[in-house]
Symmetry: C2
Subunit: 201 residues, 2 copies
């Protein structure tokens, strides 16, 4: 149900903020991140530019809010059924990640490569990385994983992002093969990290 469906209803502050972020997320699927400003969001949400400025005083504020919502949606899409076997969960997570980037690769690239642009975007990016690693850590049954495992999971996440973005340019191998290779890389990294920790203990 879209909040846009009832333009005349008076929204409370949280709803209004969510509506504007939602409008920004919608724009992100067709416009580059840099081109999303208060004017575009106001138009998409059928509200005044002044109202957008009221909630997001600067373009950076707006970008951070939209990026955070996009990142939360991404992390949410990666949650898998804990009843499923781990390899299946890994494959489902990879498929969801690829589908997510595929929907708006330019937007993803803008956030990932542009994260250093401001502290807020960098925090969104770091939080998303941390949340994804946490999903994996929990799937592996750890509260507090050994450091080698955490480092390699961070690294594997970066590998997935880069491999998928690179693959998307011309999709030179079938999607299933990409998923298989990245799944295998995760299994290899996890077992190497655990073996290294066991040997060191």
């Amino acid at each position: 149900m879209s909040v846009l469906a009832e333009p005349n209803r008076r929204l409370d502050a949280d709803e209004r903020r969510a509506q504007l972020v939602e409008a920004g997320l919608g724009l992100l699927e067709s416009a580059p991140f840099d081109k999303i400003g208060a004017a575009e969001v106001a138009r998409a949400a059928a509200v005044s530019k002044g109202l957008v400025f009221h909630y997001f005083p600067t373009t950076a504020d707006l970008h951070v809010a939209v990026a955070r919502a996009a990142a939360e949606r991404l992390v949410g899409s990666l949650v898998t059924d804990p009843e499923l076997p781990q390899e299946r969960r890994l494959a489902l997570g990879l498929e969801a990640f690829i589908a997510y980037i595929e929907r708006a690769p330019a937007a993803y690239l803008a956030v990932s490569r542009g994260a250093g642009r401001n502290e807020g975007l960098l925090a969104v990016y770091e939080d998303a990385r941390r949340a994804i690693v946490q999903l994996m850590v929990e799937a592996l049954g750890y509260d507090d994983p050994p450091p080698a495992l955490r480092i390699m999971l961070r690294g594997w996440n970066a590998m997935v992002e880069e491999a998928v973005l690179h693959w998307l340019a011309d999709r030179p191998i079938p999607r299933e093969r990409l998923v298989d290779l990245l799944k295998q890389a995760a299994l290899d990294c996890v077992s190497a990290a655990l073996a290294a920790e066991a040997a060191a203990a």
Copy 2:
């Protein structure tokens, strides 16, 4: 030999440009990338600010030139003796990469996370990634590697960057263990990619 040693000698344009970039590189080891401007470079190179502006009309031009020089230095440091066994070359390359980032992690982070800030920086970052993958492709004996291998090598590069930056925060495992894990990940990715290509052929 520093060009700064002879302040009164008249430098030709290329030498002068190189001197200014060199001064910028020096600053990068102690100051964040964002804080390096024409004034700082002029002071470090003992020249006028106007001269810096003559070669680098904008701060973005200066940043791109300094980042490119830093990236070229990084790629140069990763070249290893082709006579050595491949695993040894891989370990040496990883050690050089870690040493490079260790010297100025904030600067590396600024370029890698801030690459989306402008087209020039993004190009420097992409060119460096491409050059590093090319070093690996050549070490593996390929002119034109199969796509799965190229994708996984790109991914592995991103993994190394992320793992090293994450490790540097508190170095929770010994450096040799990090090198071993990343080396093992490369070997695993390469053999999985080649096996997938062989199965598909």
